[in-house]
Point group: C2
Chain length 120, copies 2
């Protein structure tokens, strides 16, 4: 007896897919995307990251870096001093976000209105 095909459903879970859910569990937190974007330009020390992201607090930056390290996107390296400093850089996984970041940047230029010129 021929086996019947399973009925077609829109998605297995009729909900948002797990890949996108995982992405935004990470990037859907304030500052995380900006930290990744800044590190996309190259390794940076904690103080440099703070300067590059106006408004972020020391505590928030520290939390976001810890989350990114735990997710395998960021590597933390201690520069023996003095003064002792901590340097952060993207891992291979973090670097692999580059094309998506480029897409987002291109999209913003076309579709998100510019903020009024700032004083930077």
């Amino acid at each position: 007896m021929a086996q019947e095909a399973a009925p077609q459903t829109h998605t297995a879970c009729t909900g948002v897919d797990l890949g996108i859910t995982r992405v935004f569990a990470l990037l859907g937190k304030r500052w995380t995307g900006l930290v990744v974007a800044v590190l996309g330009d190259g390794p940076a020390h904690f103080a440099e990251l703070r300067r590059a992201i106006p408004g972020i607090s020391e505590r928030m930056l520290s939390d976001r870096l810890a989350e990114l390290a735990e997710a395998g996107l960021v590597l933390r390296e201690v520069d023996e001093g003095p003064p002792l400093r901590v340097r952060y850089q993207l891992t291979e996984s973090g670097c692999a976000l580059g094309p998506a970041m480029t897409e987002l940047r291109t999209w913003a230029e076309r579709h998100l209105p510019a903020t009024p010129p700032g004083t930077c």
Copy 2:
């Protein structure tokens, strides 16, 4: 007298660029990316969106949809009832996020570990 070249600086503002800042002012809020992802599959009523995004509250979904509408990504349409229902769909700008969402999804499949199998 020859004019001296301006000293090379890393970026004009030595900070994160405005495009990425604008993107994550929007997508760096909990749920927003998931709402965009679900609407990427087609228009949906409020209740359908809520079902598709496990854990989101009515209030949060309502706030996120209002922010997305204000940013020009989502269109709100009233279906005269009864029962009266509100349908949401991506605008052209919202749809244009598709390639970036695809990049993010592809990246997650390769670089973010899967969550343990759920019960959905």
